[in-house]
Symmetry: C2
Subunit: 504 residues, 2 copies
């Protein structure tokens, strides 16, 4: 019986929590319990499901003061950020309530029986049904928004799936208290007991991916952990979909015209974006493509000065800080790469790091260390001579979550090809803005081609996050009274339906 | 240099074709050529892309007489079936032209900048873009509809993806001629050269999945081949999505009330469905759940008599016939299983086989051989005593593509729970009909949970087949003139857009 330890990364203080690491048997039992209520939960009215999500949001907010204190202690992220994150998390639950109530996510489609060049076609009606219990792996860097009460949980519940959550070891007390708030909401809403589960410990996470009753996995975290669990999900006797958001080295390009126009301003802005949340964002701009000319020099000077003014920062855990340090050492060791900013660090305390290389060095196949994400306040300035130099370097970069382009406010001949290249390389293309804000909305895409995620068709933020937890079923010639309500003639639920090929 | 051989399964005649098996280098080159035109193709107007698909349909039909002769020679499936299949295939290309023109598949969504509880949100616009070159593996059993000019090719082109096709070895001449028709259509339509590629040979198929320029795979075929290629797609340095439709042992349930009402009729109908196309359909009803009572006995008698009246049939190839024979021997060897119909077979010639077991034998964990698909005209009658007996047996069955339920035409107390169980076990639930017709339409789902497919969220028939070849991209604060047209204010393309959360 191993008690779970809560650590304060700023002070190093540790305390033993009442909860213990979950045994493999207990994990399987929680997954089975979730599966036992899956059908009940799946077929309750959409209006009830939406209200349940709103009740959970209320319960989170009711405990906000306590939750934020716990998170400050466990993450060192600071009150304003954590208060904002909790607000976002409650908003996200309510947003998914709206997505559920809207009903378009069902993709309801009705084809009445008819003749066709293939011969007569029967009555066919299709909608998407929940997959079953979803395993959610909380992230280290967002103790609320991408953890226990976060987007994966909200979207899975919205889809009609029970959820079993693996708490991240860097904030177990916050995880337990958030979970308790969700459970209070579930009980108030009259949800079946067992709809939600929470497990602690590395082995419990592995057991969760293996648990036969689990139907899909949502994961936010590191590339090695994500790949290992993805492989495991594929190796099950019955493989299950694994949606891993693994982070990225996100390109940010400044065109020569933009650097001439407002290089100082962009340099200062980049310093803020790359160190926001101690650089512990998977959307951190890590690869900065800057022209090799006097305007580019001025931009880099402004960036360097802004970074030097920052005091040292506390990372989420000693493990993450160690990883950051070893990553920066590897990057520093690449031939042709120069350190521009960054000194010694100790324990969980780190300072911002900046490196500089010519684009040709970056594009060299041997410079893989420059192309991998280094989680933390670190970026690499890549200086390019001309469009060819820039294009070659950008094409050599891995796919990413985001791709940012700074252009002149008047006509900029580089804008068009950069936006086009960006959309082939990332899930989100940003013009004249920083990638570190990921708003919850209908049109957000937080994902991207491999290696940024394990599944480029998925998003872990925004309305379409619900798509991950659904599969279509077609009902052929099934009598009206046995059909799901969303597929009935007359549309009693008032959801979007495509009828005989025409969207209504 | 190995020439490709075309074989007539009915006569055993072989002829050497002019084409040779494709080398690994040639496969890589075809994939690279496809990738080199991917962006050009992706961004042509939707109206042009729709017209291209229609022109391809026209070219297929213009060569119908020749194509059908070739297919008769190579598959022994017979003229009426093959003429119908070619009609279906041309219809399918035109159907996907309609899906393209409709534009809803883009999932265009526009959120204008606004304030939110998370703070100000920027302008966010999301749509789905093509993945890039798709590898398509033609099936053995549908030389047109699931082969070179089939649903995977049509849907990938509709999505805006170039296609490189692996011809099935059982109908290479048909594959080459169908490909030539598509290429004529592509040239008439002014498509970029290299949009379509065709490869022959086992090794070429493996090389195609490995080819770095390939972005996704569509596969229809056997479980062993599909699993091997799926594993290979996952093991690439950059894994790619693999959509495998692997076939299934599809349950068909007759309730006691239905057996009493019209057992004879159902028995005769089952005989037709399980032997249609020599049972070489992945939707063949292979597991027949029949009540153990006098009405059930009468149904089985009618089924047995109908099967005995059938003459012997020619399978698609000697390999498939050998596999069918060895599968039927394995099934015959299961303790408690009785052969009801089926005699010796030779070469590609086979007769229908029917076995019978009590539900308890089927549900026994040791009876795995009964739960696996046996491709060909073979089914297993599973006799159940009551609802519990039936439910246990059904739950022990693997997930499948289809789940058929025959109920009484008046109220039937078993209808509701069977439909509900069916939708948890299959991609399509059919009431009082046979699963062997899979119409191309907006509401068709041809897929299902593992092991029926490698991806339960996908379909390989119907409008949603296009979803497999797309991934979303969000454009943040991108100026109007640099946005894809489908995301512009004023909706110049007239496609479905969700604007500020409201579907238009």
């Amino acid at each position: 019986m191993t008690h779970v330890i809560s650590r304060n990364p700023a002070t190093g203080t540790e305390r033993e929590l009442a909860v213990i690491e979950t045994t493999a048997d207990a994990v399987v039992a929680l997954a089975e319990r979730a599966a036992s209520v899956a059908i009940d939960f799946a077929w309750r009215p959409l209006s009830w499901r939406a209200e349940l999500l709103r009740t959970m949001a209320d319960e989170l907010e009711a405990d906000a003061a306590n939750l934020v204190e716990l998170a400050i202690d466990e993450t060192a992220l600071g009150r304003p950020r954590l208060e904002g994150e909790l607000r976002r998390t409650a908003f996200q639950l309510r947003f998914f309530a709206d997505v559920v109530a809207d009903g378009a996510f069902l993709h309801a489609s009705i084809d009445h029986a008819k003749d066709s060049p293939m011969g007569p076609l029967p009555d066919l009606r299709r909608l998407r049904v929940p997959l079953g219990p979803v395993a959610v792996f909380g992230s280290s860097n967002f103790p609320f928004a991408f953890s226990v009460p976060g987007g994966d949980t909200a979207s899975a519940l919205a889809a009609g799936c029970p959820v079993v959550i693996k708490a991240h070891p860097s904030h177990p007390a916050t995880s337990q208290a958030s979970f308790d708030a969700l459970v209070r909401g579930a009980r108030k809403g009259g949800a079946p007991e067992g709809l939600l589960g929470l497990v602690f410990g590395f082995d419990a996470g592995v057991a969760l991916v293996d648990a036969p009753s689990i139907s899909a996995v949502g994961f936010t975290g590191s590339v090695p952990a994500g790949r290992a669990l993805w492989t495991r999900a594929n190796a099950r006797p019955t493989p299950i979909p694994f949606f891993g958001e693994l982070g990225a080295a996100n390109p940010l390009v400044v065109t020569p015209a933009a650097a001439r126009e407002r290089g100082d301003e962009i340099g200062a802005g980049v310093a803020g974006s790359m160190t926001l949340g101690v650089g512990q964002f998977c959307t951190k701009p890590g690869l900065l493509f800057i022209p090799q000319d006097p305007s580019g020099d001025a931009l880099v000077t402004s960036l360097v000065e802004a970074l030097r003014e920052l005091s040292s920062m506390t990372m989420l855990s000693e493990g993450i800080a160690d990883h950051f340090r070893s990553g920066s050492v590897t990057i520093a060791g690449v031939d042709g790469n120069n350190r521009l900013v960054g000194e010694g660090n100790e324990g969980t305390s780190v300072s911002a790091h900046l490196f500089g290389v010519p684009a040709t060095v970056f594009a060299d196949p041997s410079s893989t260390a420059l192309r991998e994400e280094c989680f933390g306040p670190l970026a690499i300035v890549i200086r390019y001579l001309d469009r060819d130099d820039l294009e070659t370097a950008l094409k050599s970069a891995d796919a990413a979550l985001t791709f940012s382009v700074f252009t002149s406010s008047s006509h900029d001949e580089d804008a068009s090809w950069l936006i086009e290249l960006g959309q082939s390389k990332a899930g989100r293309v940003i013009a004249n803005g920083f990638p570190t804000g990921v708003g919850v909305s209908w049109s957000m895409q937080h994902g991207g081609p491999w290696p940024a995620t394990t599944n480029s068709s998925a998003t872990s933020v925004g309305a379409s996050g619900i798509d991950r937890w659904l599969r279509p079923v077609t009902y052929q010639s099934v009598p009206e009274e046995l059909l799901p309500e969303a597929l009935r003639d007359g549309n009693p639920l008032g959801v979007a339906q495509r009828v005989d090929g025409v969207a209504r």
